[in-house]
């Protein structure tokens, strides 16, 4: 019996009411002769196993289900089930005379689904048909709508015909669905989109099959998902080098922190504000993953108040100069993050470092506000034409780091005569308010794919532009960048977009987010990635070694 098991029994024995505790429990062994089980303290509970309709499956999904591509730790798209990512340079992307673009994807050979059926190009076209179906509930369905035709010249080649050039093409098909699982009883007709969305055996695991290194084994609702080694993995029989992964659902941040501290888990994601509590955890390291996400301060002009306060670019600049971002990064975030100057990750080749910046300068902020006609009132708050410079930030309850940032912003703006109030809303309510555009300011962050496309955030009709800002000249550049297929063509357009965003002081980038991941030193092969696809992209090559 190990010391820990003995202690557990000793503790139990002292509790008269629960004295029936058996004393044979043993914690998981790290002995290599035992099954090599990777234990993950997972930060959410999943809904369904269909990677397209699930709202939060990403990491678990990648252990079982593979796509044509994924992203690595350098924010690059890399092929998985595709043998190669098509591009104009390798000749697999061709512009047609009618304006359409064809893309030829050659697929890996000898890939089998977990039930032994061969993976073919028909599965890819089936996935395309599903995703683009009206009710597929796929979060980025619109990105696929440019594909007008999917052809399968042979079992290992797929040809997509796009209605025009579309720069994000390489980031689609992060998962592929097994067509044969979604056939009706007659074995010849494919299920409808609604039937696929509601197909319980796939959603719940009984028929959840992929081509990945692990196979579905068990889902205990509210507790964990367990996947086991795929002995027939297409990359070779010697991988993966782990027998099992248990994803324990521990959504509460504090409980997860303590669970990791107790040493019973090998991997877990924590909050940036919890880093110092786990830095010294024996046998583990805290990796600060450079996330493809910029924490930023957003202003909006869709309400009358927003328009009156923030409509003038000089005023926005003044506000941004009044915010001490270095202080936030160094003191509040304990130096774990770096100040950002734009929406695109500085590690991306598309980042433009030569943009207008907003150094912390209270004198400049006051001067700009004075020039804009906002003069200090007797109560210390600036006024213009009878209006006080006072607004409310909406905060999402539980988002500790963002609330702390909001408090710093509030304090700094007070110094230049701007009054900031808070309204803290529970997550769903916050989301509704954000979508409605009925807000003036918030601290926000997005998780971006590896592709640096920012059109959805900043174009006038951008799907996620809820601020009310609209600049047709910027739209034009952004739209052109979306149609540029090569780096050389796209880079100057995205550079120009970033410059325009800064000139217009559209939002204040605060810092480049980090995703702290606690990783046991037993794990070899972990290479954390900060894109929306997460850190499990190379799970097939992970190994567990004895401590």
């Amino acid at each position: 019996m190990t010391a820990r098991a003995f202690n557990a029994c000793a503790a139990a024995a002292t509790l008269a009411t629960l004295a029936a505790v058996g004393c044979s429990s043993a914690p998981p062994s790290v002995d290599r002769a035992e099954p090599r089980i990777l234990r993950i303290a997972y930060d959410r509970e999943i809904d369904v196993l269909n990677p397209f309709t699930s709202q939060n499956l990403v990491d678990i999904s990648f252990s079982m289900i593979e796509g044509l591509i994924t992203t690595n730790e350098r924010n690059e798209y890399i092929p998985v089930l595709a043998a190669k990512i098509p591009s104009e340079e390798n000749g697999l992307v061709a512009r047609q005379s009618d304006g359409s673009v064809t893309m030829t994807w050659s697929l890996q050979r000898n890939v089998r689904w977990h039930d032994g059926v061969a993976f073919t190009s028909a599965d890819v076209c089936f996935t395309w048909r599903f995703v683009t179906g009206a009710n597929s509930m796929t979060y980025n369905r619109e990105q696929y709508l440019g594909i007008k035709k999917c052809e399968t010249p042979d079992a290992h080649t797929v040809v997509f015909t796009w209605d025009g050039a579309y720069a994000y093409y390489a980031g689609l098909f992060e998962a592929i669905l097994p067509r044969h699982v979604f056939m009706k009883a007659d074995g010849r007709t494919e299920m409808t989109v609604d039937e696929i969305v509601n197909y319980e055996p796939y959603n719940r695991g009984r028929r959840t099959i992929g081509t990945g290194p692990f196979k579905f084994a068990e889902w205990k609702t509210g507790e964990y998902i367990r996947v086991v080694r795929n002995d027939d993995y297409w990359r070779g029989r010697d991988v993966p080098a782990m027998d099992e992964i248990v994803w324990a659902f521990i959504p509460d941040n504090n409980t997860r922190l303590l669970a990791l501290k107790s040493g019973r888990y090998d991997w877990g994601r924590i909050q940036p504000t919890q880093v110092s509590a786990l830095r010294a955890l024996p046998g583990s390291d805290v990796h600060l993953i450079d996330a493809n996400s910029v924490m930023h301060f957003d202003l909006a002009i869709r309400t009358d108040l927003g328009k009156a306060l923030f409509g003038d670019v000089q005023v926005r600049r003044a506000i941004f100069h009044a915010i001490d971002r270095e202080g936030m990064a160094k003191k509040l975030m304990e130096g774990a993050v770096k100040v950002a100057e734009g929406p695109i990750n500085p590690n991306s080749p598309y980042n433009n470092p030569n943009v207008a910046t907003f150094p912390y300068d209270l004198a400049e902020a006051r001067r700009l506000l004075d020039d804009a006609g906002w003069t200090l009132g007797p109560d210390g708050v600036r006024r213009k034409e009878g209006r006080r410079f006072s607004f409310t930030m909406i905060n999402r309850a539980g988002a500790t780091d963002r609330i702390l940032l909001a408090q710093v912003i509030q304090a700094r703006l007070k110094e230049v005569g701007i009054e900031v109030g808070f309204e803290t809303l529970e997550s769903a309510a916050w989301t509704q308010r954000w979508r409605s555009g009925q807000w003036e300011a918030m601290v926000s962050a997005w998780f971006l794919p590896a592709d640096p496309g920012i059109t959805g955030l900043y174009a006038c009709k951008g799907a996620n532009n809820m601020t009310g800002f609209c600049e047709p000249a910027l739209d034009e550049v952004l739209e052109r960048s979306d149609r540029a297929l090569s780096f050389e063509a796209r880079k100057p357009l995205l550079d120009e977009s970033q410059a325009k965003l800064s000139e217009q002081a559209r939002m204040l980038p605060l810092y480049q987010n980090v995703m702290p991941e606690v990783v046991s030193r037993r794990i070899v092969g972990y290479r954390g990635s900060g894109t929306n696809f997460g850190s499990f992209w190379n799970l097939w090559s992970w190994e567990l070694v004895s401590r």
């Binding site: 139990a12 629960l18 429990s25 509970e45 504090n254 794919p449």
Partner: protein, 317 residues
């Protein structure tokens, strides 16, 4: 008695309908809708997908229409289908119920035994040090937030001393009965703490009340032994008021220990409720709340009936 029970059962129906209307209205009044689940991951979501989702779920309809739809489904004996998992709510609740019942029953047992010991010790020597400590401890227990006590116990017993696991119900791949019970200790203790505190105080005052009554004085005057006075004459009478307190407590416990289950990642009804609340999964919320309402009403009835059984002075008409 049976006429009384039948009448009470008949009264349950309109009560449950009333509760369901109020609860449905309250849930709908909370800002935000089920589309929040789509947007919570922080990734881009096409607005057309959000709208299609709302239409698919029917949450674009007026609230009375949504309620009637839900009520019609419930009348067929079905609690509807979860927005998030697309699974029958009945199935989801049934899946979580054993974990909640296990935790609840353990906590109930712990609370009842500890409350009885503390209440008895206090009542037998009122205003002594034992009583002061027990009463003081009870007030601390009542005042202490459950999540805080949970975190402290996790930190001390789970992390610092390494005696007990801090989350889940068992160690996957190394599960034994002992392992499972070790996982149960902390959540059961934390959940029990509040009830120990309040029940021991109820029990104390009930016992003191009985011990000071004339018939006890008479029993002692007749020369009955102190243990006979206590166990034969005092306890049964002091227990009567405890029945309703504990029955209601049990109903409260059975409807899901929301905070305890969240803090200990215990896969019961309470955690299902929290998840459903954040995702605005209306069918699951309604299912859990309806179950809670029925349980509370049913336990009320049980308490009333038991009260009559234990106290012959009470007659049902």
């Amino acid at each position: 008695m049976s006429a009384y029970i039948l009448r009470r059962l008949a009264q349950m129906a309109p009560l449950i309908v009333g509760i369901s209307i109020v609860v449905f209205a309250l849930i709908q009044a909370a800002p935000g809708g089920p589309e929040a689940a789509l947007l919570s991951s922080g990734r881009f979501v096409d607005p057309s997908v959000v709208e299609a989702y709302r239409v698919k779920l029917g949450v674009d309809q007026p609230v009375p229409v949504q309620y009637l739809r839900w009520a019609m489904t419930v009348l067929t004996g079905d609690l509807g289908v979860s927005y998030a998992t697309m699974r029958p709510v009945t199935e989801m609740i049934a899946e979580r119920l054993p974990a909640t019942l296990e935790l609840t029953a353990s906590a109930f047992l712990v609370a009842a035994i500890l409350a009885a010991i503390l209440g008895l010790a206090s009542a037998l020597r009122p205003h002594s040090w034992t009583d002061l400590l027990s009463t003081g401890g009870s007030f601390v227990g009542i005042a202490m937030p459950v999540f805080w006590l949970g975190l402290i116990l996790q930190l001390v017993l789970g992390v610092e001393l390494g005696w007990l696991p801090v989350s889940g119900t068992h160690t996957v791949g190394a599960s034994t009965l002992g392992d499972h019970l070790a996982h149960l200790i902390l959540p059961a203790l934390v959940l029990a703490s509040r009830y120990v505190a309040s029940w021991s105080q109820y029990f104390r005052s009930s016992l003191i009340g009985v011990l000071e009554s004339d018939y006890i004085r008479m029993a002692r005057a007749q020369g009955l032994s102190e243990s006979r006075v206590l166990f034969v004459h005092t306890l049964p009478n002091a227990m009567a008021p405890m029945i309703s307190v504990m029955a209601l407590g049990l109903a409260d416990l059975a409807s899901g220990a929301v905070i305890t289950e969240t803090v200990f990642a215990w896969p019961g009804i309470g955690r299902l409720f929290v998840q459903a609340m954040f995702a605005r999964d209306y069918p699951v919320l309604m299912g859990v709340l309806l179950m809670g309402a029925v349980t509370v009403i049913a336990f009320n009835l049980v308490a009333d009936v038991l009260y009559g059984v234990l106290d012959p002075r009470i007659r049902y008409e």
